[in-house]
């Protein structure tokens, strides 16, 4: 199993060069049954990551390009009237898939955003009074452009909270960028990717996440981190219990990828930034020398206390 996970990472890494951490986070997010938000500039490999991951873990893949004039039905599906037998036929939308890439989710209207986010949360879709289950596993990778770009609708905090993790890809390292220029077209490479696990195996691995041990000492570390965000004046508000659970679940998934049967603080720290930062609003500058909000919080809370 450990080998399978490692090969997932290597395989995806072949297409997305030098982004092992992000790949691992994405995988952890998938294993933890969460959804992933990738925030970055256009052309940084968001789609490539989503596509490659879906392919390597052997899941169906659909992609929606969100636009401002999109309606909920464009994602969920529509019923059309069949004149021949006088009945309604449901045409499932792109949401009925295992991996859904919702590209540029913040370009579409709040109404459509809500429809998608509801599907993510409930893992089922209700169209015209009929509730339909979404396939298992169901993994949404949404990408969004930085919110200060034109033509964007900011995702509200309540909906950001639905994403287990938010990651940023960033520019590739110089070394990898050259490899990228020299190598094949990523689209061709994507086509060559082979699944290394099947759906059943993936779901089995997903179920293993819950059995990873998290001791009292570790939980108390998470608790102190959460408490800190609630009591600090720099933050507009603190982390919710849902966020706390998200940290623990993600840390477990991370530990699983690392091949451990127990969570150590390093796991929490590894997923912390991705799980937490999009749920908080930072009220201060980075004059302390911390690179990010997550790092600042980690640097403010004792690991063992």
């Amino acid at each position: 199993m450990q080998a399978q996970l490692q090969s997932v990472i290597t395989e995806v890494g072949r297409v997305l060069l030098g982004k092992e951490e992000q790949v691992k986070l994405s995988l952890a997010c998938l294993l933890a049954k969460g959804h992933l938000l990738i925030e970055d500039l256009p052309g940084m490999g968001k789609t490539t990551l989503a596509h490659a991951l879906a392919k390597v873990v052997g899941l169906d893949y659909q992609r929606v390009q969100c636009t401002s004039d999109m309606l909920p039905a464009d994602i969920l599906g529509v019923s059309t009237f069949n004149q021949q037998d006088g009945s309604f036929n449901f045409h499932p939308g792109p949401v009925f898939t295992q991996v859904l890439l919702a590209d540029e989710i913040n370009r579409t209207s709040s109404k459509t955003q809500s429809a998608l986010l509801e599907a993510m949360e409930e893992r089922q879709v209700t169209v015209e009074g009929e509730t339909r289950d979404l396939p298992e596993p169901f993994f949404v990778i949404a990408t969004q452009n930085p919110s200060d770009q034109s033509g964007t609708y900011r995702l509200p905090e309540s909906q950001l909270d639905r994403f287990l993790m938010r990651i940023q890809l960033g520019y590739p390292d110089q070394k990898y960028e050259r490899q990228l220029y020299e190598g094949l077209d990523p689209r061709d490479q994507l086509r060559q990717l082979q699944a290394v696990v099947n759906t059943a195996e993936l779901m089995q691995i997903q179920n293993q996440v819950n059995s990873i041990q998290a001791t009292e000492t570790l939980l108390s570390y998470v608790e102190r981190l959460v408490q800190f965000t609630r009591s600090n004046a720099r933050l507009a508000w603190g982390l919710s219990p849902r966020a706390a659970l998200a940290i623990i679940r993600s840390a477990r998934a991370w530990a699983l990828i690392e091949g451990r049967d127990h969570v150590i603080p390093e796991d929490v720290q590894a997923v912390f930034d991705a799980v937490v930062v999009h749920r908080l609003r930072d009220g201060a500058d980075y004059s302390q020398g911390d690179r990010s909000l997550g790092e600042w919080i980690l640097n403010s809370v004792e690991v063992v206390a």
Binding site: Q213, T215, T217, I264, E266, N299, S300, V301, V303, V304
Partner: protein, 677 residues
């Protein structure tokens, strides 16, 4: 002129509050228009702040200043008096608001506030004023803090709390400095005599003087006895001795009349550590007798040099002298509360051998006044046969035919005749005066003594209060072989006056009501009375321990504390106390920061971290056990890694916690010695 920095709103408001608070204690002394001026200036400054009005132009300012100075000149009869000077300060203080453009100007107002605050103590030093001024200082400090706070900071109460905390924190330092720093005598002398102030017993006595005093419940002095206390009948506080009589008014003898012929001096002054006083005292003619009373007097300001003490006093305070007629005198008038210690010998026999010059002084009466009294005196003296029998006869006479009243009729020139034969009603001074006259008429040496009689004990504190209404006059008569003996003709007439004290003697009587004497009415409300006594006790303690803490007291206290007084010793003790205090603070902080974690493993881990950081390993807050092990850079890194691995397992894997593992780990942590590579 456009202000560079607008003074913030909260500072302004606090400043106005401070100004009003600074003004309030002076309210009764200052003319009412000063309050008006201050209010006008405040309103003006508020309008300036709101941008409605502008700062006054120069001519307006000068006009206001001139007007205010004129008003001060008109309001005070003595332009160089203290009140007028304080009023000038107030004028400047108020007007400064109208040119308070910048932070610097506000600072001037703040410093002036502190200065004017202190001037209040020139008039009064009671504990209430001290407390009030302390609060005012807090407000003034609030202004100062506010002035230095950021522009947008608008939490005036928080600023006030900060100021309070800071001043309270400085109190211990203040106390230490008060106790230890040299107590310098005042190097300026302010003429504090207020116009029309009551001065207590005056230096002359004519009929009617004392009545005014009995209408006042003002405090004269507080007396604390060490050891034995006298009984009420013995509480005759001698202050002045009247030897010269002109038929109506008694006066003190001139100093040259009182020169002790053997010594060549009128007064012998007490000087601590000097033998001269002892030697001089030895030449004074008195036999001490058995009992000694040891007591301390705190005299309120009288603006006169006389001090009050019980019979045959020997002073124990520098600057106090003993006059040849055995009363106490102070060098210079008592302008502020004055504290002195006295030993009194109530059984002393004074001047068993009366020198001739004294006999002449104490028997002199003017010719041709009070002829009827002289005649009666001569007749009775012959009938009585001896001096003492004559005295008794006179007292009997007073006892039978006279009565004591607070509303005696006015007397003319032959006051003794009129009193003895016509009105036969009077107050202590009438009795003392005519009694003494009758004695002198037959050449028995006698003199009138004025002072206070009685006093009430404060049940809450072991001391006695003497008030103006205790003012009294009595007579001292020289009897052969007995020396000067005190006779109180008032006692013969109204013994309850002496036994119960003045206010009790007249309790509920109509006389008091009609003389406009209100104290007793209020005193009947016993709760109020108790409160008053409690408060007086507080003021007494204040006067005794704070105001009365002078160089001498300081020295004796320090000697008591240090064994012997020297600067080096003082510095050492001071240092020891400071260090002790800091150690206490340190221990407290240690205790507060102590490790309160219940988990022994966590405590153990923390101990290891402390060891590591002492060894020079840099540890960040976010470092996990494995992080630390990985980049500790210590010499014996392997052992550390193994320990940290164990910790990691202990903390993060279930089922690893047992006594043995922990003990083992504990041992390894203890044995681990950190050393950098």
């Amino acid at each position: 002129m456009i202000p560079a920095i607008q003074i913030s709103r909260q500072t302004l408001v606090w400043l106005f509050i401070a100004q009003i608070m600074v003004f309030l204690p002076h309210y009764s002394r200052m003319p009412i228009w000063l309050a008006g001026l201050l209010l006008v200036c405040i309103v003006w400054r508020v309008q300036v702040y709101r941008g409605h009005w502008s700062y006054p132009r120069r001519p307006v300012k000068f006009g206001l200043l001139g007007l205010a100075i004129l008003f001060v000149l008109l309001s005070f009869p003595r332009v160089l008096g203290l009140e007028a000077m304080v009023a000038f300060l107030f004028v400047a203080y108020s007007l400064k608001l109208l040119e308070m453009y910048s932070k610097r100007d506000a600072l001037v107002v703040i410093y002036l506030s502190l200065f004017i605050l202190m001037t209040g103590f020139l008039f009064d030093q009671n504990i209430l004023l001290a407390l009030y001024n302390f609060i005012t200082v807090i407000v003034v400090m609030t202004c100062m803090i506010g002035l230095n706070q950021e522009k947008g900071y608008v939490f005036p109460l928080r600023t006030f709390r900060m100021s309070t905390a800071m001043l309270l924190q400085s109190v211990p330092l203040m106390v230490v400095m008060f106790l230890v720093l040299p107590r310098l005598p005042a190097f300026w002398n302010v003429p504090v005599q207020q116009e029309g102030a009551k001065t207590g017993v005056s230096d002359t006595m004519s009929p009617g003087n004392f009545v005014d005093l009995t209408r006042s419940d003002e405090l004269v002095m507080r007396v604390t006895f060490n050891g034995e206390k006298p009984i009420p009948q013995q509480l005759y506080w001698r202050g002045l001795v009247f030897s010269n009589f002109d038929g109506r008014t008694w006066r003190q003898a001139e100093p040259e009349q009182l020169i002790n012929r053997g010594l060549g001096k009128t007064v012998i002054w007490y000087e601590s550590g000097s033998y001269r006083f002892r030697n001089d005292l030895a030449t004074m003619d008195f036999e001490q007798g058995e009992r000694v009373l040891d007591y301390e007097v705190i005299l309120e300001e009288t603006h006169q040099p006389w001090l009050f003490a019980l019979g045959v006093p020997v002073p124990e305070t520098d600057g106090v002298g003993l006059v040849s007629d055995f009363r106490l005198l102070k060098q210079g008038p008592v302008t502020t509360r004055f504290k002195y210690n006295v030993y009194s010998y109530p059984d002393a026999v004074i001047e068993r051998d009366l020198p001739q010059w004294r006999r002449e002084l104490e028997t002199a009466i003017p010719e041709a006044v009070n002829p009827r009294s002289r005649e009666l005196a001569t007749r009775w003296y012959q009938e009585a046969g001896s001096d003492e029998a004559y005295v008794e006869k006179l007292l009997d006479y007073f006892n039978q035919s006279f009565y004591y009243t607070l509303q005696p009729p006015a007397l003319g020139n032959d006051s003794v005749d009129e009193f003895l034969f016509d009105s036969q009603r009077g107050f202590c001074e009438h009795f003392a005066s005519s009694f003494t006259f009758m004695l002198r008429a037959v050449e028995i040496p006698a003199r009138v003594v004025a002072g206070y009689q009685g006093g009430e004990a404060n049940p809450y504190q072991d001391y006695m209060l003497v008030r103006q209404y205790d003012a009294h006059a009595w007579t001292e008569v020289w009897i052969k072989d007995k020396g000067w003996v005190r006779y109180d003709p008032t006692f013969a007439v109204a013994p309850e006056r002496i036994l119960d004290g003045f206010s009790r003697a007249f309790e509920g009587s109509e006389e008091l009501a009609t003389t406009g004497f209100g104290f007793d009415d209020v005193a009947n409300l016993s709760m109020f009375y108790n409160l008053q006594l409690q408060f007086d006790r507080l003021n007494y303690l204040w006067a005794r321990w704070v105001l009365g803490y002078d160089a001498g007291k300081q020295k004796s206290m320090l000697e008591k504390l240090l064994g012997a007084y020297s600067v080096a010793r003082l510095a050492m003790v001071f240092l020891a106390f400071s260090v002790g205090f800091l150690v206490l603070v340190y221990l407290y902080l240690l205790w507060r920061e102590r490790d309160r974690t219940a988990d022994p493993a966590v405590r153990l881990y923390r101990r290891l971290l402390k060891k590591l950081s002492r060894a020079g390993v840099e540890i960040h807050t976010s470092d996990t056990p494995l992080d630390i092990a990985a980049r500790s850079g210590v010499a014996n890194a392997q052992e550390l890694e193994s320990i940290m691995d164990d910790f990691n397992r202990l903390f993060y894997q279930t089922g690893r916690r047992d006594r043995e593992t922990l003990d083992d780990l504990s041992k390894r942590v203890r044995q681990w010695r950190g050393r950098m590579v």
